[in-house]
Symmetry: C2
Subunit: 472 residues, 2 copies
Amino acid sequence: MANTGVLTSQAQDFPGWYQDVLAKAELADNGPVRGTMVIRPYGYAIWERMQAELDSRIKAAGVANAYFPLLIPESYLQREAVHVEGFSPELAVVTHGGGKQLEEPVVVRPTSETIIHSFFAKWIQSYRDLPMLLNQWCNVVRWEMRPRLFLRTTEFLWQEGHTAHATESDARQFALHVLHEIYEDFMLNVLAIPVLTGSKTESERFPGAITTWTCEAMMRDGKALQMCTSHELGQNFARAFDITYLSRSGTVEHVWQTSWGAATRLVGALVMAHGDDAGLRLPPKLAPVQIVVLLVRDKDGAGETARNLVAELRDKGLRVELDARTDTSFGRRVVDWELKGVPLRIEVGPRDLKARTVVLCRRDTTTKTSVPLGEVSARVDESLAAAQGALLEEATEFLRRRTVEVDGLADAERAAHDGFAVVRASVLEDGGEAKLNEAGVSVRCLQGPEEGLAPSNDGVNNELVAVVGRAY
Amino acid sequence: MANTGVLTSQAQDFPGWYQDVLAKAELADNGPVRGTMVIRPYGYAIWERMQAELDSRIKAAGVANAYFPLLIPESYLQREAVHVEGFSPELAVVTHGGGKQLEEPVVVRPTSETIIHSFFAKWIQSYRDLPMLLNQWCNVVRWEMRPRLFLRTTEFLWQEGHTAHATESDARQFALHVLHEIYEDFMLNVLAIPVLTGSKTESERFPGAITTWTCEAMMRDGKALQMCTSHELGQNFARAFDITYLSRSGTVEHVWQTSWGAATRLVGALVMAHGDDAGLRLPPKLAPVQIVVLLVRDKDGAGETARNLVAELRDKGLRVELDARTDTSFGRRVVDWELKGVPLRIEVGPRDLKARTVVLCRRDTTTKTSVPLGEVSARVDESLAAAQGALLEEATEFLRRRTVEVDGLADAERAAHDGFAVVRASVLEDGGEAKLNEAGVSVRCLQGPEEGLAPSNDGVNNELVAVVGRAY
């Protein structure tokens, strides 16, 4: 492409490329308080599209949205021992409010299990109240020592689902339903990012969970990114918050719970899973702008043709923008739209129009095709579908190529420098996992023989494999 | 209605009725930190519908959504003198983060002018960057001494718009565009709540604004509720944050700004503007559930008929729920749906089905009509449109009846006990406004002769009238 040199190249400096593309595609900026982030309109439009896609899947699973307070009494967090130990070092604490020192300090939520469960205890009385399935879209704060835009920020936006069930099996099934039907489906079919699913080792588990399920993706530098998690909480919080129900048979039982979340980190994942040296490459199903109609020169009716085309494509329900900034150079505008990763560009210029054609340019492949005006509508549909498929295929092929099966710890560590290593989980025993961690490699997930899922949560056994890699 | 006695009556104790209906319709609960609120699924569904309607109007006005950090350095607020003075007593202050005392305390945003304007200063360089039109949906915290669910809460959800323009006139026009085309249109045509628009007196202005425009509505107890505000900020913040642009003629100029917001308080307004002694009455355009199909008894094919009806109405794009809880008494279910204010109830029972009819019940009028099955779809459209119109008409008539023109301060104070008093604005001079305030009455807005808008912002003049009332 003509725009080589606009960005630091990925091969040369991947983290530098990432910073560069966030700035030049105007996705985000650092906030004044260390680790905080400003999400600029284009970055936020990507997040809004993610929200819409996730939200419809969450609602289809029977989950209702609600909203719980940002501020939580410090004492709430202390009720579940493992939970408070996990989160204490990351808390932001409000000590003053309304001009006075507070009697009890309150924390800015790092996650909402504690406050939501205190209401579950009020609202759940009988088996008729179960399952209780809630979700909230909100901001959370976890003080971040090594911040990185979208990937690790002191404040981030997310959805957090919280559910209560009558039995352990109901809770497990729901946690897995969320993992596959909400998250994996969204990542595969909208983000066009293949993921490995599995469970976390004990050391990587959510504080307070009995099992943490995860979707792990591979970025274009071969490193792993945890895309979301879905936790089985067992009865740990039910006991800490005394959430009980009267069963059908008249006994009083503690509920079984889950929680699960996906965050603005996914915007970073999208950038690093598909982006190239010219900028973002957005999958059409996710892209806030799917097509830009670029008016080359406003001459000989080109302006009217471009505007009509925009109207026609919008009528089909596509997200289309017109670029009529003919006072800015053609080359610069092309570079801009490539930076922003818009999947399809239609160039409308007086020269092509003499032959009643326009030029279709796919961002993912950078192929250009001359298309008769009357065929644009049909060709656009084909091109968008093809681009969606091609991005997934490319990412899937990349993941396959960079994932190797190895035999022992030393080979796993070596292989993890380029991608993922799959190794028998038994090598993690007797300090094996700690040894990997010391080398900057971590267990991304454990997978059982069936569908990549651990068959039980009794810990590591011979049937399990561990996927290891370097992680963001 | 049969359900008299479910709620405290409005006539007897309006605040008690309000608390009662929020609890029994399951809209909200108090949070553990004083003044905070849990928005339950039904309350949140109402807010989501408000967000969708406002958001589409905001985007139609050319405004893009973005997101700015929750945490703001204390020093940012101090840059605009009037602003910090107005907000200091309400701030929540974070003094500890990541296990350590912070070098500079940070505040939880009470509103985001300061942090957003610090980025405007970076992003705005030339007249080509103007107008800059941004909005964010977020939570804010203002420590509340006299909290009341939805109306005054320590944390609330809102949208806050922030814009920068090249000229004073552009900024004013935009502030008024927001007031009328975004807010007033939404309130009138979706919420079915008539509002009075006008400007605030100096003492009621937003801290840092040169003019604050407002929509004021009347609740069913005759009290006023401020529904939203739209501020002209002049160049106050532009000077404090040094937001300048290079003009077309090459001079460096400060921008002119606006900010505007509407909050979860609107849920409270909706409850108090339309509710009656049986519960909420939601206007169909806003209602999360527009129609409930209530299966009376699952016998003689009634269940199948009900399910088919739900599918048919959903296919038309209506928001429909099926109530098939035939193990709960019919009466109790009717009370529930009336509490929740669902505009239309369709009762499907074996007895009516013998004559191939169902019963349509309008929540607003409580009228019941027997309708042949084949006519349901058409009658539903009519009934929803009629209910939307009737609620607006009733509220408009109520506002008209309770608004009186009076001559002097004493009469204004008296009249404000039942509703609004309209009085020449000149009576506010020389301590007149303070006298009203001492009597618990405040100036809700100033209106000029044209379309209820103050013609200039030079303060009070003889052409202006003041609308006074008791306020939430």
